[in-house]
């Protein structure tokens, strides 16, 4: 048995509920936690889903929008090169912060 989770209709968080990005993040995190809690009830801890494991994807089929951490990291890699996709994807979820003051360039 394997379980993957696809969180669909994420556009509604933005367009209908008009949640700020941070609240949208908490909402998605909550969805994942709910699923894991349910898996926990059935003693399937080894099946826990997490974006970091790669078995959670985010989508909005209405807007043809779909990504995982890895696929989004790949887009950055394709655009800017020289990015370790796997390592980058591992840093795109959870309480991880990017030190933007010194190293990020807006253009």
């Amino acid at each position: 048995m394997a379980i993957t989770l696809c969180i669909n209709k994420i556009d509604r968080l933005m367009l209908e509920l008009k949640l700020p990005p941070q609240d949208a993040y908490y909402k998605m995190k909550h969805v994942i936690e709910e699923v894991n809690a349910l898996l926990g009830v059935y003693g399937a801890e080894d099946l826990y889903v997490s974006p970091l494991k790669g078995n959670v994807c985010f989508a909005s089929s209405q807007y043809s929008l779909c990504f995982t951490l890895k696929s989004f990291a790949t887009i950055y890699a394709d655009m800017y090169g020289d990015v370790n996709v796997k390592a980058f994807a591992q840093r795109l979820w959870g309480d991880v912060y990017f030190n933007s003051k010194t190293y990020v360039v807006y253009f």
Binding site: C6, V56, C66, S71, M79, F98, Y103
Partner: protein, 148 residues
């Protein structure tokens, strides 16, 4: 307003603690905010921002496409930018075992008939040619096709 960020030597620049009060988690900064900005720019100000937005995302729209309504336009932009559901396909191919490998454990869950029959053997072997016909014979009252 820029949509994407450039990350240089990103490995050393991530931390568990926010570098300042305004700092957002990396998921928000690198993924959600770009998506939000695409929505905002296309919904809010499609006429002026569109060319710059496409340039930044590295995609091209023809003149005709630029004149589309907001919803099909967003579809088109996200499709060109993120690809056609590659994230989902990748996830499934990476994490879901192939039907042949998985047949044994899956059938134990969903098939109530005997597995040591002809039908059982064909299902375990994931034989596409015989399965349909035998299913039809086997399930007179209810026809359910399980496939991945």
């Amino acid at each position: 307003m820029s949509v994407l960020l450039i990350a240089f030597n990103f490995r050393r620049k991530f931390s568990k603690k926010p570098p300042n009060n305004a700092a957002q988690r990396s998921f928000i900064e690198f993924i959600l905010e770009p998506v939000y900005k695409i929505f905002a720019q296309v919904v809010g100000d499609a006429d002026r921002g569109l060319v710059g937005l496409c340039e930044e995302l590295g995609i091209r729209l023809t003149r005709e496409e630029q004149r589309l309504n907001v919803r099909p336009l967003l579809r088109l932009i996200f499709h060109r930018f993120l690809g056609s559901f590659t994230g989902f396909v990748e996830m499934v191919s990476e994490h879901i075992p192939s039907p042949c490998e998985n047949a044994k454990s899956k059938l134990a869950h969903i098939y109530t008939g005997p597995l040591d029959s002809d039908i059982g053997d064909d299902m375990l072997a994931c034989d596409p040619d015989v399965r349909y016909k035998k299913f039809e014979l086997a399930c007179v009252l209810l026809f359910i096709a399980y496939s991945k």
